[in-house]
């Protein structure tokens, strides 16, 4: 199947799901405890003020009309106004998403490299001690609660050994440089573009710990998947052929077995991305990382329905996009799927 036909088939599906995502988000805003109008107007609002706010927020309209208005607003970029920051939700959420993505991208790099290495070690020495060690590591990585891992790393690596900063996104002395306005929102990329070496080092040293924590579950998952997939491939005919010819075991693994084994790993990559994105919600607060996770944590404590719904929508859309990209990439890596 060509790329275009695949895209033509998947796009309408994705669009339909995106509309559904908007509906679920609307449902979440309605489920939230408390009256949206009184949360918005504050506890001292008079009856008339409340009625006015109700009208402004469209809460007096019949439900189907509210749903249509909400969906139309999502498409037109009007995602409502956050109750706790009093800023347009879309601006808030996009700014925070970039910070979260910085964390997730670094974590995904760690997870793919680390996971594949662990998987290859397990498959190469199957049943011997490196396999045991790799399996134990991946089992622990998929089982440890990551907020707890975060606490442990903060205590050991940051506080006791003083190797890396405990929290934050960069050192305080760069606040002016960052505040001047960023071109991409990704501080590491900004620092690279403006050739600001100290800021680059500062931002990298700050991202390592939270990224390691976010990468924990994805690394374990990729490692276990890669091991199983490699072992399956290593039992195939063309590998026996290569062995018979007399290639070294390492060459066989890297040149003949790795690529055909990547299919399942790549297929799971979107799911893994979803896990990584979800995990940021558990640890951003811990590491004082100004991403969507901290934003939602603040929104929950203020019962900020538009913000929670907005964050949910933007994450779901990012996840949908990742799924689409992975589906399009798979036939490129594995020609058997074409």
């Amino acid at each position: 199947m060509t790329m275009r036909r695949l895209l033509l088939r998947r796009l309408p599906q994705t669009l339909l799901v995106a509309i559904g995502v908007g509906l679920v988000a609307f449902g979440i805003t309605r489920l939230l405890p408390g009256d949206a109008a009184s949360t918005w107007a504050g506890p001292r609002a008079s009856r008339e003020e409340l009625a006015l706010v109700r009208e402004q927020l469209g809460l007096d309209l019949p439900l189907p009309e509210q749903v249509v208005r909400y969906l139309a607003g999502l498409v037109q970029g009007d995602w409502g106004v956050s109750i706790h920051t009093r800023q347009p939700v879309l601006d808030d959420v996009l700014g925070r998403l970039v910070a979260s993505m910085e964390l997730v991208i670094v974590a995904m790099l760690i997870a793919v490299v680390g996971g594949l290495l662990l998987g290859m070690a397990g498959a190469r020495w199957k049943g011997r001690w490196p396999d045991w060690l790799a399996s134990a590591i991946t089992a622990i990585l998929v089982s440890a609660p990551i907020f707890w891992l975060g606490l442990l790393l903060q205590l050991t690596v940051a506080t006791e050994l003083d190797l890396l900063p405990v929290a934050g996104r960069y050192d305080r002395e760069f606040r002016d440089a960052v505040g001047e306005g960023s071109t991409t929102g990704l501080i590491m990329v900004d620092a690279l573009l403006s050739l600001n070496g100290p800021l680059l080092i500062s931002s990298i040293s700050h991202v390592i710990l939270p990224a390691l924590v976010v990468a924990a579950y994805p690394t374990g998952l990729i490692g276990r998947l890669a091991r199983a997939s490699l072992i399956e491939t290593l039992g195939e005919e063309h590998i026996r052929m290569a062995r018979a010819i007399g290639y070294a075991e390492r060459t066989i693994l890297l040149r003949f077995a790795l690529r055909p084994s990547l299919g399942p790993v790549l297929a799971a990559l979107a799911l893994v991305f979803g896990y990584a994105l979800g995990n940021t919600f558990l640890v951003e607060n811990l590491f004082d990382w100004p991403g969507l996770g901290s934003y939602v944590a603040d929104s929950i404590s203020t019962l900020d329905a538009p913000s929670i719904a907005g964050a949910t929508v933007v994450v779901a859309l990012a996840y949908l996009a990742a799924n689409l990209v992975v589906d399009l990439l798979r036939p490129m890596v594995d020609p058997r799927l074409r």
Binding site: Q13, L16, V17, A18, G20, V21, L23, V24, I28, L31, L32, P33, A139, I140, V142, S143, A144, P145, I146, F147, W148, L151, L152, Q154, L155, T159, L225, A228, S229, E232, P264, A267, A268, L271, G274, Y275, L277, G278, N279, F281, L282, N285, L286, V296, A297, S299, I300, S301, I308, A309, T312, V315, A316, Y319, L320
Partner: protein, 298 residues
Amino acid sequence: MTAADRASDEGQGWAVWLRSAGRYIREHPGLIVSLVIIGSLLATALLAPWIAPFPNDAGTATNLLATLQPPGGEHPLGTDLVGRDVLSRVLFGTWSSVGTSLLVIAASLAIGVPIGLFSGAVGGWVDEILMRVVDIFLAFPSLLLALAIGAALGPSLEHAAIAIVVAWWPWYARLMRGEAAAIRGRAFIESGRLLGLGQVRLATRHILPNAAGPVVVQASLDLGGVILTLAGLSFLGLGARDPVPEWGLMVEQGRSLFQTHPWVAIVPGAAIMLAALAFTLLGEGLRERLDPKGATRR
């Protein structure tokens, strides 16, 4: 074989049995380790009131004369901010953490499996609509959907459990639907239909048992994930409330003390890890037996 040989064989029956048991343990170490841990978890969940040194500390009791005691002596794993015995709370927490997670999986299966079975067995536009609904739920990372719904329902252990069920059932609906649709086309179902068996009977008696393996495997693998998700929601303040001894909440309570009194959070966190680990190993052990090809499929 002579009579003497047979006698010596019988005499060594137990040795043979022991040797084959030994071989089984060597070949399936994960399964054995997981069964041992799960057995101990089950035992602690049931026996907590008798084996916990300070059973009252799992409830509303406080002991302000013994706050933040380090591990050792009367309190083998130390005490928390209000002087409650950490060991007792972790033991009692088995029920609220692992027990709730088991209920969550059971409820998700109870919703997802019938929907998936119906969808796959019927096919056509009903199948199409149901699966698009499932797609919508699966468009959110599970943790995030559970978090948003948990926030909407308000903080409590029951609400957190409901929120996770809402995020989880679509996985089983999709898995079950795929298995059912594949089996529906097989010859034995066709012959059942020619014999005049009803749709319901075909679905429940002939499709379901043949499709159950991968679903059972997935459910046991997911238990670890549910334990972690539940703990995560509690950690974010959306789950159990004090004084309920829930492991995720206990880690949260130890969070601000972590630099000075780490045991308050380390112990319940380790309990979460141990429980999640046990169910992951159990799921993988079951997969080897019931669904050997499932290892590379998501």
